[in-house]
Amino acid sequence: MAAQVKVLLVDDDPDFVEATKAILETKPFEVIVAYDGKEGLEKARGEKPDVIILDVMMPPPDGYAVCSELKKDPKCRAIPILLLTAVMQALPHTLYTIDMGLRTEADDYIDKPVEPAELVRRVESLIAG
């Protein structure tokens, strides 16, 4: 990996952002943060990140809206998006979000809160993919 990997993290909860940023920075990632959907769209277009981690539960535009907007944008379509869904995989009886993840064009999804190692693994595989 020659150039440093740029990760855009979009989430409206500062505490969650701080913790997640710390996880990502254990790797040679440059982490850019956006605190709402609008800012997320701007930074996605301006910063050209290698991967976007996008929370679904935000005030409008929410993660789904941001995701579909970016996937429509020819310049951003190629950027892999990891959706942070609100329901835990550990309780598999709620397929609701999984289904939502599949309905959107996101490249992957992971339930919030995330295990540090798992988050890193997902992000790395998206970049490699």
């Binding site: 701080e18 913790a19 540090p116």
Partner: protein, 499 residues
Amino acid sequence: MRIAFKISMVSILVVDDEKIIRDGCTRILGKEGWAVQTANSGEDGLRLLQEEPFDLLLLDLKMPGLSGMEVLQRVRDLRPELLVVIITGYATVESAVEAMKAGAYDFVSKPFLPDQLRIVVRRALEKKALQREADLLRQERAKGLREIAGEKSKIKTIIHCMADGVLVTDHEGRVVLHNPALVRMLKMEISPPLGHALDDGLENDCWRGFVRRIRETTEGSTVSQEVVVGDLTLMAHIAPVRSEEGETLGSVTVLRDISMLKAIDRMKSDFVAMVSHELRAPLSSVEQQLSVILAGILGEVNNRQQEMLGRAKERTHALLALINDLLDLSKIEAGFVVQHKEPVQITEVLEKVVELLKPQAAAKNIALTLSLPEILPQVMMDRGNMEEVFINLVSNGIKYTPERGSVELFVRVQGSHLCAEVADNGMGISSEDLPRIFDKFYRVKNAQTRKITGTGLGLPIVKRIVEAHLGTVEVESQPGNGSKFRVYLPLEPSAKGGP
């Protein structure tokens, strides 16, 4: 008969102009315990008859003044039920016959032996007792009929005045009885005509399903289902009616307006949803922060810290699980389900669920299998909801089955329904717990389940979703023998449409 004589004292009137006959009768009949009065002329006799209710009249035909025949005719008018025995001499047998034609019951010829008199009188009294008995029976029958008629109108009045809607249909779904509340609740412009099938002219989808249900509720027990008609939410309880031989005669449906309850329920669900959302975000962050510290990202964590933080994380995790379930349930209760109903091949749903839960099963060495018939009809459903139903049932099966057990899924068409079964060979459910497992927050508590985590909301969610699809869930289980959960979903009626 004897008893009847003794209940009230028998009273006899003797009308004869001959004193010796009057005295003889008084003596002979008095010995029998009967009360005897006498009159020496027809006029006197008639006067006494008007004063007292005699049981029997002994009447001499040949008397000076008013003759016996004349007295007899008057008596027939005056007291038609009174038994009359004629006393007559040999020479007047013919007139005795005539008297009997005129309504006398019997006669005795003068002179008579005491036994002759006793026999004739006794027979007459027996006849009288029989008559009274018959009268009594007639009266009782008339009273009974009146009571039945009264009962009928009473029931009719009660059904008519009930706030709940009542609908009775016969075995072919034709209307037999209904009340004004039903017509009002279903917003019908005219009362459904008796003797006709019910679904004619009704547009509402939900209602059609309900009518079909009424026709199909011929086996099994009472079915309860919500029906939405305009702005009203109704709870319909449909009970099949069977003859003693088990033959289906029809069904009785009781409709209750639960719109108010639903409104309150919705408010409660909204509240729960709001609170849960507010709780979830911060809890999620707390857990994330704990994860970061535990992973040693912010510096080394010693063993004791690791242990305590680990426990803290477990607690937040459990709380989040509870919140997720609450949200799911409130979402379903608020009616967010079944919004995208489409024809779906249930095979696709089940295959996805099995795929998703394979790792969970594999972790416990549980064989998770899916058996599908070659052809299955499509069923109208919300795909996501239905996936959730089977994820719940299958993951429960895995949770409550010990290592190296099995969880099997079967699908078949059963009558007018598609039946999907999730069968495990796990610990099973006791008969005390069985009726409550679909209650919110109910969890089976025993030594075996202690280590199994859950929120007690999975099965209520399953039930809600299935019912929102006009289906039913049933469970069959015995402790130690595994559990079978069956989900029944109604198949679309054929294009031809039923009768």
